[in-house]
Symmetry: C2
Subunit: 518 residues, 2 copies
Amino acid sequence: MWALRRASPALVTAAAAKLHSDRRGRRELSAPSRCESLQAAAQLILRDSVQYAELNGLLYGLKDPGADQSAATQTPVAMLPFCIPEKAFQDCVALSPLWNKLVDAVARDVKWLHATLETVAKADPFTGRLLKISKQIHEEGLRQPLMLGIHRSDYMLHSGAEPRCLQVELNTIASSMGCHAFHVEKLHRFVLGRFQEGAVGRAIRGHYGDLKGDDLTKRLPRNVTLEAIPAALSRAQAVYKAQTKGAKDPVVLFVVNDDGRNFADWCFLEYALWEVHNVRVLKKSLKEVAEKASMDKEGRLWLEEEEVAVSYFRAGYGPEDYPSEVEWSARLLLERSAAVKCPSVDYQLVGAKKVQQALARPGAVERFLGPDSAKLRGCFAGLWGLGPGEDDQAIVKLACEKPEGFVLKPQREGGGHNFYGKDVAVKLKELSPQERSAYILMQRILPGLQESVMTRQGQLKVMECLSEFGFYSVYLGDGRTAHLSAHAGHLVRTKAQGVDEGGVAAGYAVISSPFLTS
Amino acid sequence: MWALRRASPALVTAAAAKLHSDRRGRRELSAPSRCESLQAAAQLILRDSVQYAELNGLLYGLKDPGADQSAATQTPVAMLPFCIPEKAFQDCVALSPLWNKLVDAVARDVKWLHATLETVAKADPFTGRLLKISKQIHEEGLRQPLMLGIHRSDYMLHSGAEPRCLQVELNTIASSMGCHAFHVEKLHRFVLGRFQEGAVGRAIRGHYGDLKGDDLTKRLPRNVTLEAIPAALSRAQAVYKAQTKGAKDPVVLFVVNDDGRNFADWCFLEYALWEVHNVRVLKKSLKEVAEKASMDKEGRLWLEEEEVAVSYFRAGYGPEDYPSEVEWSARLLLERSAAVKCPSVDYQLVGAKKVQQALARPGAVERFLGPDSAKLRGCFAGLWGLGPGEDDQAIVKLACEKPEGFVLKPQREGGGHNFYGKDVAVKLKELSPQERSAYILMQRILPGLQESVMTRQGQLKVMECLSEFGFYSVYLGDGRTAHLSAHAGHLVRTKAQGVDEGGVAAGYAVISSPFLTS
């Protein structure tokens, strides 16, 4: 049958036999045999779990669909959730409103923001271009002070006496995977609940250690992404309507990329907006925006016949999305208009690595957050600016000697392009001091590893993995009034040990969910 | 982007231009131009509607998935619902409890049933084999009188002064497509609701005629398949538990075929059983049942460690599903056991075309249904038995002269293998009188045609189509007590004019939903 219909029945039979022999022995399983047992159990429920994933929205467009434009494959997902201490998880949830407040406060301090990015802008043309747009719209006078943030703060669990999360980065634009994360929670609730019995159940329980009497599904925190994020977009549309005379039924524009293989991760936001909030969505690429959008003399944004209340960027976060001046002209039009941007160019700039690094300096977070700053500082990893004016000689020397303790990251957003291990030293030596300002150095967090069942293309692999934990937050404010500030769900991305770049779509990682341990 | 990402932008541009010119003219559109306009509108929302379908469970396993065992494609669906007069639709709904009662009454009159099928059994080995099993289990003494029926009565709309539905056939085994039908209603609710505005909305309204002020989604009757069918399976499990001492948490067995491309159409039943009713499902092929199932001395059915309360056949309806004696031994085991069968071999036999034809004879329905019979007879099309003892010379002569007025159908279940048009005469002449008893002749219903937007593999075609309307019903009884009898939702299958065989999976037809007209 499907998924296994062409797979070797011998594999399944061997898996079943292995489980039975494990069971007959009733012996305490040694660690390696527990691992084999997990593999065997996973093989038995592979088809069920992959089918459940696909039928519950975990789909990706097929890379080479040929004539069948609708051909799709499963989203790469973990079959089972990833352990995190409940306290570490809840600590991160509690930080969401602080990140919201910080991003807004920094974005409203335009002078500080622009000054902080000035040197980066010279080294990184992309940041430079965004900074130029920000300057232009502030010179013209900010037409829409209302800004919507859908942020995601990403952490890794730092091993130690009391494990705690250290921040990897803060995403302020196109924070994706929220829909997938919602559906993976559902998948894991199904797998842990449905397969509690028999040999498979014993193998799964063995994987999570000594939790004999527990209902494992109680360890899965509810993920609110698919309620909270559409509710925030809808709220922004409602506030826009209230402030704009005559706007009857304005749309939310999703700025998406031309590839669109990851449609499942934004379409569910669109459906919730329509089915729950009665708000219509139009999806366009930046190129299409350039061709079809215009601003009227009151500054309202129109897409042909439709007034746009909110412009939600799911693309436009990196230079790849701006292959020509056409895309930049679209971005400028959106920023100048009265449509609420999610995010505004200023919110996007707050997400720059350079700002993260500047905030890490003594007194910087305190300037914006006051007494709440200490809570945030608890999750900061070591961060060092590079290049002229940064007094970076000592840290560059150390990083060249012990590169395994660092990550070298470009300033701009979008994930990827990082340097790890020996490459840190190689790259640092290549760069001129001026060129170094396009990068920051970060303490490398080395989190504990866990055995994980990764599924992809209907196949599974059990591997030693580490995870990155993302926490979404939503914020709507105009600099004076905060209309909304809330935690908005979570994301777990799991990757095999040794895989440094973490893009799920690129196939290096899978989406998982948290399993809360005490 | 996806679906259209590799499609010609010129197509979309041309579609948009056509719609705009239609709109600018504001003229009353002629019929052919309305048709082009529907095509153009459909092209503009193709990607949106196909993505919605896929993300809401309308998936099929890809025929040739290569290395990617999870590769899937959209279920072939109509983009827009198919018109049927509300009265004709409600008349069919009202017949559901009568079909339930009739099937059960016929199945309990074993003598009549066996006698009716005796001649067919000689001509059709498959029916013969089922009959033999039925005889054996009644000789041994029926171990489980409780039977669960999930039937589907299929009709076509017969044109005339007052259009009414005439029955095509009654399915008493593996009545499929219920999950897909549920999701297509959701799809059509999205399409009709979301795209009410602008040129696309005007084209869709134009397609449905003069309904200017109406909310089109109000014309879509709610489809209850995905609530009613799992509820019936769960009820059967509960009654089994109540009657069987010691059965703690018995499973429902889904007997499925090895191909499994249509997994989406049974998996949602499984998920509802688990998530709503807390009932576990195991899915096995007949071959696997033969290998893994056994009956204990009390007659209880076990699948390895699991007690089976209900055996639900989604395969086993045609000879293709019994390639060897192994599968027949599995079927016999299931029938002899105390598990509740859905359907029992007797219920399956009631669905034979020969029984349909025998019931059409004067006095036959009346024997089982009494005063309710007249209501059922209102939907009977002309039906004629063939072969020895049937006095078929006159009708065979007529069918050879005017074959376009008839369908020649084999007695057995499962769809397909019918003869239409000239082939009716050719086949009738080939058959010996003895061989003829494996077939029945049926009046050919020629329903009105409607323009339909069929989507398949991410592409669309606008074609003149006809539809078959299916009405599900569920029944649980033991011959004395009816535990459950209810209407259980509906199905519309739409096929292009001239396509005689209607298998959706085979690609000749699409699944649609009813649009109720007054």
